[in-house]
Amino acid sequence: MWEALQHAAWVTTLQTTGWLYGLVLVVHYLALFSCVGTIVLLDLRVLGVANRNKPLSPFAQHLRLSTWMGFGAAVVSGFLLFATKAEIYAEVTPFRVKLLIIGLAVMAALAVEWSVARWDRAPVVPVTARLLALLSIVLWLGAILAAVEIPALTGIG
């Protein structure tokens, strides 16, 4: 399956066209910065470290579009980059670890998003909320760490 993907005509075009590959890489970086940065900010707010004096829900609404537009663009561009070396990426452990961490991080981020309105009505942000926010930060920063370790551990990148 990965072999067929990697050798599809459009993937070959992407891999051999320098500016096109670069463009996808630029989109991937911008999208992931937008996604991870805004998620971490919301988590910091839940933890009470950022913007404590303002209510939680409006802050979450501010960031929502950047977060999920960024996530969508990062997934699409990430898939395109994956496709150019699909056979190798699918085989290496650090890449699988990265995907696993991202999967867990998305669940943590969604759990925070869905609970924000409820936490906002509570007199103080519950301890479980803070733990969830902390977990989300650790997972998202873990995803970036896993990503930079892929070239370092496997030589692919």
């Binding site: 670069g22 630029v26 911008l30 910065f33 937008s34 940065g37 579009l65 950047s66 960024g70």
Partner: protein, 167 residues
């Protein structure tokens, strides 16, 4: 390139931190991680504010409110990104400055984008009106967006065409 810049780069490569990151097997990717973590906070918030100036985003809140509420962590992100970037640069400073794309990023695009960012940050409130963002504000947001995209583009250009030994 001027001898002073070259000598400065040679010196950076010989500093304790330059040697330390270069000789360690784990520190180089960790510095990349620090750089990207800082960039996420810095660029994530900047893109959000610029898009809001352009009318994209949550309409119930103004670009000025958004800019203010993100200000502190935006600059924390900047300094984290700067620290990681500086350490990465120190490992092979001469290779970095030998690359035209990287020189463009460091000497032109980043200073320009930073100065523009400070202007936008100061003026966002004035550009925000009851009926929306003024035309000047929209243009300023668009220009800032394009400046930071050009910084990332130069960086990716460098990533794809460099002669780094340690990357």
């Amino acid at each position: 390139m001027s001898d002073v810049v070259w000598a400065g780069c040679r010196w950076l490569e010989s500093t304790p931190w330059g040697v330390m990151v270069r000789d360690s097997t784990w520190m180089y990717p960790v510095m990349k991680w620090v750089h990207f973590t800082g960039l996420s906070l810095w660029l994530g918030t900047i893109l959000t504010v610029d898009l809001r100036l352009l009318g994209v985003g949550d309409r119930r809140h103004t670009a000025a409110e958004l800019s203010n509420s993100l200000c502190a962590w935006r600059w924390i992100g900047f300094f984290v990104a700067f620290l990681g970037g500086f350490l990465l640069f120190s490992v092979e400073a001469t290779t970095y400055v030998s690359h035209a794309g990287f020189r463009l990023k460091l000497a032109v695009l980043i200073p320009l984008a930073l100065m523009w960012h400070v202007v936008v940050q100061r003026k966002t409130r004035a550009w925000t009106r009851a009926e929306g963002v003024s035309a000047t504000g929209k243009w300023a947001g668009l220009i800032e967006l394009l400046l930071w995209i050009s910084v990332v583009t130069a960086s990716v250009g460098f990533l794809l065409t460099n002669d780094l030994t340690y990357a």
